[in-house]
């Protein structure tokens, strides 16, 4: 009785076979073919992949900009604003989609294909990776035949075949069974647009054949590894990751965080990528979920948008570029990246060159870049991780997020409909947006409740204070000022950073009470009533406050002790001098902002000033403005401008400055000098 053949494969495509490699590079086999619009349903997106290792660059590249799909690609395929005549007069075309054959088991990407098996007779050769894919060739002895050397029983054997037609068969994974997924690694936006059009208007794609190139690295197998004597053989994931990153150039104009992440011309891009990569590796997707790295709107990219976020690529980029860019920061950069470790490699052995191998934030050579990437990962990223995951306030924010996530996952496990919870969890952990349709309304509610619960829990707590972008920039500013002040010491930046985090913990103790809007000195400098001022000056004010602590209560001594034996009393004095200077700067800022605020608002300040006082001040100001205009018109000299208006302003402002100084001294336990105090002693006695 003839046995019925079992058909293991359910997707078949016929096309031309090819192999791509150069020299000894790892070969990639491919089949050029075409798909109908319906065939596209067999393709998956890269965001559906779960690689065998955590990899931020892959995660970053697989993000799909749905807005761009609807805004640009869909109208290209199916324009709604063209007349029938206009449509007839245009031609459109897409380059081939690049599709990877990815081995999958239990929904997880597998590192290798099953070992290749050959089956042949006099006419046909089957190459098969059992349970995943099979290729059928026609054998040919002609002069145009293509020669393949294939591994059979541990040795290479030569086969001559026709390159076309060749039939590729795939077994799609079903449930947790193994199989091969067809994953688009280039053309995700095209695929999303084609699927959208096919869903909404299938007749528009009737008869269309889309060019597709199906790729797979045939040697990513255990047998090939054995054949190579056990040396490492590239995994399927590493091959496609590399191809994916290489071929994806379409996101370069996406904007927001991607402009930073994809930039290679500044250290910002390198630092942010390495930081995210390190967090993903050390803390997994739960850690990375608290770093905002995929905001596309420029406006939102420099603030935090999620209630559970710790920081954002945009904040890091803005803060670090501001403090580290420019030639004058090259020594600091060299210290922060410990460039003496790699400097001998910078000069390419050209000892006679007078050109300095100086590295700047936005100025370095391609040759230097590979060393810089390693130094960023080795020295700078651990410092950033120490600040954003080591400082008590951020550590607590991380713990609260993990607790809330655990609860969400438990709710999911207890739920009858896990799909909705899973969609919410995927949005939190993998940035896979919940579909904007009615089927996912519950998922959106779950997500919003998750955010709202965390937001409620953090309200008024120090965690929410350190979530302000401007506070984070103040923290980073203070950190960099300290590094700059200590960059001549033979101490690693991470050692200084750890001491700095202790200083931060002290500064933000008692739920950040030093920085609360209720403090007299915080009004006008950092807060306006209960609203934080998102200005550069606010960043400096916060930084000044943090550094002031160095001039109080033996903190300079503690800090210096943490640096080890390379630091001594002179370093203590240096830090006290820095703290004292910053205290003076801060009160100077308070004075300036209070004065500015008073001049802007005195006309409506009915609580502090009587009608007569306001009228008097208004007259003085009018006269002052008139005289200033005369200076501009060259009718009066600057020194002849009456100082009466500003003197009267100082009288009112001076009282507040004195109060602010008293509160500042009391809160910080600061007993050092504040140069500006002397001015207001006079004001008070008038």
């Amino acid at each position: 009785m003839r046995k019925i053949d079992q058909e293991h494969y359910d997707v078949h495509h016929v096309g031309s076979f090819g192999r791509f490699f150069s020299g000894n590079s790892f070969p990639v086999d491919y089949l050029q073919t075409s798909f109908t619009a319906a065939d596209l349903l067999n393709l998956s997106f890269a965001q559906d992949l779960h690689p065998d290792g955590q990899d931020f660059e892959l995660l970053m590249q697989r993000d799909i900009d749905k807005g761009r799909v609807l805004r640009e690609v869909v109208p290209y395929i199916n324009p709604s604003d063209l007349s029938d005549k206009e449509n007839k007069e245009r031609a459109i075309f897409f380059p081939p989609l690049l599709v990877a054959v990815v081995p999958v088991k239990n929904r997880q990407m597998q590192p290798y294909y099953p070992d290749e098996k050959l089956e042949y007779d006099t006419q046909i050769l089957y190459r098969e990776w059992p349970g995943q894919l099979r290729i059928q060739f026609y054998l040919d002895d002609g002069i145009s035949a293509y020669t393949q050397k294939l591994l059979e029983k541990g040795a290479l054997k030569e086969f001559k075949v026709d390159r076309a037609p060749v039939k590729l068969s795939i077994r799609k994974p079903k449930g947790s069974e193994e199989g091969a997924s067809l994953v688009v690694i280039d053309g995700q936006h095209r695929l999303a647009a084609l699927r959208y059009v096919y869903d909404k208007n299938p007749q528009a794609l009737e008869g269309v054949c889309i060019p597709v190139c199906i790729l797979f690295p045939p040697n990513s197998t255990q047998a090939y590894k054995d054949y190579m004597g056990g040396t490492d053989v590239l995994t399927v994931h590493s091959v496609f990751r590399s191809l994916f990153v290489d071929v994806n150039t379409t996101m370069k104009d996406v904007g927001g965080h991607f402009n930073v992440l994809l930039s290679d011309s500044s250290l910002s891009g390198i630092v942010c990528r390495k930081f995210c990569d390190a967090i993903l590796r050390s803390r997994g997707e739960r850690g990375l979920a608290q770093i905002e790295w995929n905001i596309k709107s420029k406006k939102d990219s420099t603030v935090l948008n999620r209630s559970y976020s710790i920081t954002s690529i945009g904040i890091l980029h803005k803060a670090l570029s501001k403090s580290l860019a420019g030639a004058s920061k090259s020594a600091l950069l060299s210290f922060l990246l410990v460039l003496p470790e790699v400097e001998p490699n910078f000069e390419l052995g050209d000892n006679d060159s007078d050109e300095s191998p100086v590295v700047e934030w936005e100025r370095f050579s391609l040759h230097q870049k590979r060393y810089l990437e390693a130094q960023v990962a080795k020295h700078m990223v651990p410092c950033l991780e120490e600040i954003f995951f080591g400082m008590s306030a951020y550590k607590s924010l991380h713990e609260k997020f993990i607790k809330a996530l655990d609860k969400l996952e438990k709710d999911r496990d207890d739920s009858a409909n896990q799909e909705q919870h899973n969609a919410a969890i995927l949005q939190i952990l993998e940035y896979k947006p919940i579909e904007d349709d009615r089927h996912h309304r519950r998922a959106r509610d779950i997500y919003q409740a998750f955010e709202a619960d965390i937001s409620r829990e953090l309200d008024g707590q120090v965690e929410s204070l350190v979530q302000y972008a401007i506070v984070q920039r103040g923290i980073l500013d203070a950190w960099i000022i300290l590094l700059d002040k200590l960059k001549d010491l033979a101490v690693a930046p991470i050692v200084i950073t750890k001491a700095f985090v202790e200083l931060l913990n002290f500064a933000f103790r008692d739920d950040g009470s030093l920085f609360k809007p209720s403090k007299a000195y915080m009004q006008y400098t950092v807060w306006e009533l209960t609203n934080i001022k998102p200005l550069e000056e606010t960043r400096t004010a916060i930084s000044n406050c943090i550094l002031t602590i160095l001039a109080t209560d033996g903190h300079a001594e503690k800090f210096t002790k943490a640096l080890g034996e390379v630091a001594d009393r002179r370093v203590v004095n240096r830090l006290i001098t820095l703290g004292t200077a910053k205290a003076g700067d801060f009160i100077g800022q308070y004075h300036k902002f209070r004065q500015r605020n008073f001049i802007r608002t005195y006309t409506v300040d009915f609580a502090m000033l009587s009608d007569d006082d306001r009228n008097y001040l208004r007259e003085l100001e009018q006269e002052y403005q008139k005289q200033i205009q005369e200076v501009r018109d060259n009718l009066r000299k600057q020194e002849d401008v009456s100082g009466e208006f500003l003197k009267q302003v100082e009288k009112y402002v001076g009282r507040d400055v004195k109060k602010a100084i008293a509160d500042f001294r009391d809160s910080f336990n600061y007993v050092g000098g504040i140069a500006i105090e002397e001015i207001f002693e006079e004001v008070e006695t008038e």
């Binding site: 420019g326 030639a327 004058s328 090259s330 020594a331 060299s334 210290f335 410990v338 003496p340 470790e341 400097e343 001998p344 000069e347 000892n351 007078d354 050109e355 300095s356 191998p357 100086v358 002040k485 200590l486 960059k487 001549d488 010491l489 033979a490 101490v491 690693a492 050692v495 080890g564 034996e565 390379v566 001594d568 002179r570 004095n573 240096r574 001098t577 004292t580 200077a581 003076g584 700067d585 050092g672 000098g673 140069a675």
Partner: protein, 228 residues
């Protein structure tokens, strides 16, 4: 911050300060202390920091691994070679005539001569044990002020702090063909601004006196980057 200015206490790590008298001390400032440079006129000089543990990558406490020491040795060699170039960067130019011939002979030779140091720094360091590099670099750092200034000058209308800032600004402008300022000339040596140690003596005397003192400094100290 003026009232907190430290007039006497500034120093760089490992270097001592020479105090002449309370009011007219030779003051020494490394870049971390540059804010404390006197806001008054005087004479000044820039010294080259010949080496330091930080500059050659010896961070933290000993012992250092052999890789770190080997790298530090390379860095120190490169640094001292560059320093040697700074101190031996004199160029002579002029015309030569055959000795003993009358002035009526018109033939002469235009020559440009570059200073060369016969001593080979590399061969000195090659003979040392890498374990000794921390000791050597500490010594090299300490003798930085004994090497003589690479530049000296005076201020009268500007304060010493303002003049320092001007040199620093020239350094970072790095105009390729600008040979007019010390900052721009020094930027071409491969050293960074933070490799300079500023020393000064504030002087409260007439412009003529300060000029005379500056000339004496040029004559006696022969700073390679000073233009007389």
């Amino acid at each position: 911050m003026g009232q907190h200015k430290r007039r006497m206490g500034a120093s760089i790590i490992g270097l001592s300060i020479l105090l002449l008298s309370k009011d007219e001390a030779l003051q020494v400032f490394s870049p971390p202390y540059e804010d404390e440079i006197p806001r008054e006129p005087g004479v000044y000089g820039f010294f080259l920091l010949l080496g330091s543990r930080q500059r050659i990558g010896l961070l933290g406490a000993e012992p250092f691994s052999s890789d770190v020491l080997a790298n530090a040795q390379k860095n120190l060699e490169r640094r001292l070679l560059k320093a040697e170039k700074v101190f031996s960067s004199k160029m002579l130019e002029g015309s030569l005539r055959e000795r003993g011939k009358g002035l009526s002979l018109l033939e002469s030779y235009d020559v440009v001569m570059m200073q060369r140091n016969i001593t080979d720094i590399l061969s000195i360091l090659n003979g040392t044990d890498a374990m000794s590099i921390p000791v050597i670099v500490d010594f090299v750092e300490k003798v930085s002020l004994m090497a003589g200034p690479v530049y000296c000058g005076m201020t009268y209308d500007q304060t010493l702090l303002q003049r320092y800032g001007q040199h620093k600004s020239d350094f970072y402008r790095r105009a390729r063909d600008d040979e007019s300022s010390f900052g721009s000339r020094f930027s071409k040596t491969g050293f960074i601004w933070d490799d300079l140690i500023f020393s000064c003596v504030p002087l409260n005397c007439s412009r003529t006196d300060i000029r005379a003192i500056e000339k004496l400094m040029h004559m006696l100290l022969k700073a390679p980057f000073s233009k007389f």
